[in-house]
């Protein structure tokens, strides 16, 4: 189901959390709301869920064309996975997953047998077979996350909303779960919106990235587009992995580490190159990185292949020529 957000405003007292937000989320897509803390991304997610309400008189949320703004969260039918999972710790995994089905009014409630088979199906889906009888405190972080996901999916939600889905996990588990979630999304094809402050996560995982800042949407696009064509200095810097060069009185210029070419000092061409000195070398793995210092004091991070580095045979203190593709702020 597509989600259409139209002209949402939200104030908490005098603090403005969202200002005139409009956004289209295509059916079946995996969309990331990306931004620093305080940018309003979680508030937007909670408004879509019906856990918060936009300011009176403004804003419409539509699921597949249907206006859901006045449908309370209890009836809105969204699957919401909380940052800290919010599992019911007095219930087993199976009871947690079944909760949404057991609270349905009698005439809509599936039979016990149906509920049991739905729970087993979901346990299979999130790869937690055999853990049905455990309690949340007997599970690892990653397992809890998947129980929360299964619980949200049990009610066959119209859309799936995840608040910082990997925020509370270790780096290693995070990577694994990220890959798994992408696969999982492709299997079930449910329109999914997730909040993150981690640009790498957003770029790697999402079909569409929404960059937010100070209660507003800064840029929307495919990860590749947003990365290659940032529309503002903020997006440039927030997506990270960029060298910022700001000379006195001029506009800041940006260059990504892999867009810098390193040559022998002997190959220096004054028209395009700058001379620089190597101050730091790091070459574990296929990609090597080095830091060079320009004559005017700027440091640049450079990425190149291990092979290139070996050919250059550089050491700390060596002089090199750097050639870069400079971008202004678009």
């Amino acid at each position: 189901m597509s989600i259409s957000i139209h002209s949402i405003h939200k104030h908490f007292g005098s603090y403005s959390a969202l200002e005139d937000i409009s956004l289209e989320i295509p059916n079946g897509s995996l969309t990331a709301l990306l931004g620093p803390s305080g940018s309003g991304k979680t508030t937007l997610l909670r408004i879509v869920a019906g856990l918060e309400f936009p300011d009176e008189g403004a804003g419409i949320i539509r699921f597949h064309g249907q206006n859901v703004s006045n449908i309370p969260v209890v009836k809105r039918g969204v699957g919401f996975v909380f940052q800290h999972y919010a599992l019911f710790r007095h219930m087993t995994v199976a009871q947690n997953i079944a909760f949404g089905l057991t609270v349905l009014p009698k005439k809509h409630r599936p039979s016990r047998g149906e509920i049991r088979s739905r729970v087993n199906e979901l346990l299979d889906l999130v790869k937690l077979e055999g853990l049905a009888k455990r309690r949340p405190d007997q599970l690892s972080g990653g397992q809890r996350q998947r129980v929360a996901l299964a619980r949200a999916l049990a009610i066959r939600p119209k859309v799936l909303l995840l608040d910082e889905p990997f925020g509370a996990l270790d780096a290693q588990v995070r990577k694994e779960l990220r890959r798994w979630l992408r696969q999982f999304h492709d299997e079930i094809g449910l329109t999914t919106l997730f909040v993150t402050h981690d640009q790498e996560e957003a770029l790697e995982l999402a079909d569409q990235v929404v960059v937010m800042r100070n209660a507003r949407i800064e840029q929307v696009g495919k990860p590749q587009d947003v990365y290659d064509h940032p529309r503002s200095p903020f997006v440039y810097e927030f997506l990270g992995n960029v060298n910022k060069v700001q000379r006195h009185g001029s506009e800041p210029q940006y260059v990504r580490p892999h867009e810098i070419e390193v040559l022998f000092a002997a190959e220096y061409e004054p028209a395009t190159d700058q001379l620089a000195r190597v101050t730091h070398l790091f070459s574990a793995g296929p990609v090597a990185s080095l830091t060079v210092r320009l004559p005017d004091g700027y440091f640049l991070d450079v990425q190149l292949s291990r092979k290139q580095l070996d050919e250059l045979a550089l050491g700390i203190g060596d002089e090199v020529a750097v050639r870069m593709r400079i971008h202004g702020a678009a």
């Binding site: 019906g50 856990l51 918060e52 309400f53 009176e56 969260v73």
Partner: protein, 282 residues
């Protein structure tokens, strides 16, 4: 406010619940409190002050103050010692010790008085020896004090133990690496961190010591002007139908309770703002 409706009740339900709570608390807390003062002043201020100025009343007040002072000091020293032992070290029998410290909470005040009769009463273990040496414990000041010690035993320790348990030992360890002695560590590192909890424990201990009735009534012998503490004096007056005088004395204890509660809120307020200062995230 629409925004609160997700995790809160409707206005009507809220209103009903708040009203029920107010009625319950009014009936059970405020009404009795008001009654103490109303009854005390029923026959005018003159009688009120006269009842407090009576010689037996004054001696009861004096006895209460002495008892409370000794109990508070002794149990504070014990409380600090026990909580240091329990929170700074791990040793066998630690959890048994914790349970034993809680024990007096589960003992009826009457029993807390009774046990001393079996030790020091005329037919108790040490009774004959005490009579021989003409030492009186039961029906005298020492009996009142030890009975009060029993009932107020856990108050300071019970406040300090959870507080000190929530604070790790690293500040103390840091002080030791810097060359501080044990006393210096306690006075300059631990004490400043627990002072409000300690004060709160002392307040509760004091309120209970001054107000203890059951345990003291068993061992005091009710000798007017001699072994009657303030609560016992109130009982005597009440049983003699001198209601206004009884309530006049009761106002002193009710004021003590109010001051204790006021100080408690104050201490809690300070504690809260201090923890807020320390970690701005909360």
């Amino acid at each position: 406010m629409k925004g609160n409706s997700v995790t809160s009740e409707s206005h009507a339900v809220r209103f009903i619940l708040i009203t029920c709570t107010m009625c319950f608390l009014a009936l059970f807390l405020f009404l009795p409190l008001a009654a103490v003062f109303a009854e005390a002043l029923r026959k005018g201020w003159e009688l009120f002050f006269a009842s407090l100025h009576e010689e037996v009343a004054l001696s009861a007040i004096k006895l209460t103050l002495i008892t409370a002072a000794i109990s508070v000091i002794a149990n504070t020293i014990f409380g600090v010692s026990a909580s240091w032992l329990i929170t700074k070290f791990s040793f066998r029998g630690r959890s048994l010790l914790l349970t034993l410290i809680d024990l007096p909470f589960a003992v009826s005040p009457i029993i807390a008085g009774l046990v001393w009769i079996f030790l020091f009463g005329s037919k108790g273990w040490f009774g004959p020896w005490l009579t021989e040496h003409q030492i009186q414990i039961i029906f005298a000041l020492p009996g009142i004090i030890i009975a009060t010690l029993f009932v107020t035993f856990p108050f300071v320790a019970r406040e300090l133990i959870p507080l000190m348990e929530s604070q790790s030992n690293d500040q103390e360890e840091a002080a030791i690496t810097l060359g501080a002695s044990g006393w210096q560590v306690f006075l300059r590192v631990t004490l400043p961190n627990i002072k409000w909890g300690l004060l709160y424990g002392i307040l509760l201990c004091n309120a209970r010591a001054m107000g203890e009735f059951g345990a003291v009534s068993v061992v005091s012998g009710h000798i007017r002007g001699k072994t009657n503490t303030l609560p016992l004096h109130i009982e005597v007056l009440y049983n003699e139908y001198q209601f206004s005088a009884a309530f006049a004395c009761a106002t002193l204890l009710a004021l003590l309770a109010l001051v204790t509660l006021g100080l408690k809120s104050l201490v809690e307020g300070i504690q809260k703002s201090e923890t807020k200062d320390r970690n701005p995230l909360h």
